[in-house]
């Protein structure tokens, strides 16, 4: 019984992180219909920024989040300006998605190797005074870092929900998502909306990076495996269904921690792939959307 509560609790914590990873991915996919393959690499970039702030100036990783957000937001603006905005000129939407896949695949190589040059390929993680400590809640032991990650994920999801549903910017975003041309006829600056939302998406990746670097570890090339988890969560939630991403992440986390009992921890990735294929076969529109 104890191991079951433990598995559920750690599944929720893990799943919240998965949801946080997928938020930025789902935002770009939902708004611009671009799939940002380099999302995982931006997660790692955020982790390295946090790592640097910690090791050079001794700034606590969770206090460094605002600085990481600023840095990765700028990175997102650069990403949009240099690589994504030229694609919007392509007339055919399928061609646009394919090119965005290829281009961000190229971005991975530029960033990966730049990060290897700057931070070497050693495994990095942040170890603070409270890293090993844990709390016992309902008989389940949870690390402080995991709980912080859970809190940050919920905070980020709620903040994103309020930005998208309660602000003028969110209104612009929803208008541009529904029909970019009509939105721009109504006087919405669609280009600027896209620019800022890709900044927000990459900043969310950076926040996920902070959580990962403080409770796991990062290497320049580990972005791809985080990206895949994000993609599986996005498919579970349904394409463009941003509000369902955090619950979908928690479902994936629970399935994964249950699968550890069955197949063992090393095969987590394979489990995620199998879930991905099953969802695509039976519910390609995602778990949380109704079929149109």
């Amino acid at each position: 019984m104890e191991s079951v509560t433990q598995a559920i609790a750690s599944g929720i914590v893990l799943g919240a992180l998965y949801g946080l990873i997928a938020l930025g991915l789902g935002l770009i996919m939902g708004i611009m219909k671009f799939l940002n393959i380099a999302h995982g690499t931006f997660i790692i970039l955020g982790g390295y920024v946090s790592y640097w702030l910690f090791s050079l100036w001794g700034i606590d990783p969770y206090l460094s989040i605002p600085l990481v957000i600023i840095a990765t937001f700028l990175a997102g603006l650069i990403l949009y300006k240099l690589t994504l905005s030229p694609l919007l000129k392509l007339p055919h939407i399928g061609k646009r998605i394919d090119s965005s896949l290829l281009i961000t695949f190229g971005v991975i190589y530029v960033l990966d190797n730049a990060m290897t040059l700057v931070w070497t390929s050693n495994v990095r993680s942040i170890i603070t005074s409270y890293t090993g400590e844990a709390l016992t809640i309902f008989g389940a032991r949870l690390g402080i870092n995991g709980l912080c990650g859970l809190g940050i994920a919920i905070l980020a999801a709620v903040a994103l929900y309020f930005i998208l549903s309660r602000t003028y910017f969110g209104k612009h975003v929803r208008a541009a998502t529904q029909d970019a041309e009509a939105a721009s006829l109504c006087g919405i600056n669609v280009q600027r909306t896209y620019l800022i939302s890709s900044g927000i998406a990459v900043a969310l990746a950076g926040v996920a990076g902070v959580v990962i670097v403080s409770s796991y570890s990062i290497t320049p090339t580990s972005g791809l495996s985080w990206l895949l988890i994000g993609i599986v969560v996005m498919v579970l939630a349904g394409e463009g269904n941003i509000n369902a991403i955090l619950p979908a992440g928690i479902i994936l986390g629970l399935i994964e921690s249950a699968s550890i009992f069955v197949v063992g921890a090393p095969y987590r990735q394979a489990v995620a792939l199998v879930i991905f294929i099953i969802v695509l076969m039976f519910r390609p529109q995602g778990l949380f959307t109704k079929r149109e």
Partner: protein
Amino acid sequence: MATNWKKLLTIVVVVAACIVLPMVIEIGTNILNLMVMLFIFITMSQSWNLLGGYTGQINLGLAAFFGCGVLITHFIWQAEVPIYLAVIAGGLSATVLAVFIGLPTLRLKGVYFAIGTLALAEALRIVVGNIFPEWVKMPAIYVTTYSLIPRYYLGLGVALIAIAVVYLVTNSKLGLAMVAVRDDEQAAQVTGVNTFKYKVLALLVSAFLAGLAGGVYAYFRLSFMYITTVFSPLWTFEPIMAVMIGGSGTLVGPIIGSIFLVILSEVFALTLGEAHLIIFGILFILAVLYFPSGLVSSVDRIRHMMTSVRRSISKLRQQL
């Protein structure tokens, strides 16, 4: 017909040179190594080109099919089966793998196929790394009899097969259907093309070619310190780059792109080391953004410019 004869003659001369040269003159080990890698890249990029360039389905997990070919060929060859059969078995195993990922993902439009293949490669990389944590190597007898010449010919043969297959497929009814799927899937469907069938067929042929390339690599390398390296996304990235730089959806493009890539990586790897991938990445992004039809079309473009310049010069002369 004159240009056709010229083309045929060039092809025959190049192929004959590739076959005869290593027999006649002693070629250094370095160059032979490079040539084998070039053949592997040509096979891989033709494989990607068939699916990505002609059928319009972006495969981001070519490494999965390649790595599967490497593994299966390695173990079958180790069981003292002739290498030619082992390589074919590698290709077939990649085809089987392709069925598993292709059937659920190709049915859907959009990015699912790309995501599925990417996830497949990554999952295989991790699972295979768990199964074979140590050296995957051949017995000593294989190492002592190692010689590059048979590797060269096997690589050449597989590359020629790949080019021939892509040529034959794209010049048949199948190829016509594939191009129709790429250009406008909905319109193709409306006119009665079973788009799903052709997408799956293209994937199977493409996976088979990638598996063959993997077989050649297994024969070429013998032992692998970390078997996970054959599933590394670099094996996807570099063939895509060769296709994009050469010109996707053409037969010659991937060949030119592969030659360009192999020479470039040789030059850059010596001078820049690890950083050469940054330059590759930037080149790749620029090629996709501003040069989507690749080097092949730029030859035409330059020819076009030359003729227009010539015309304007002759006009000037007449005026003078």
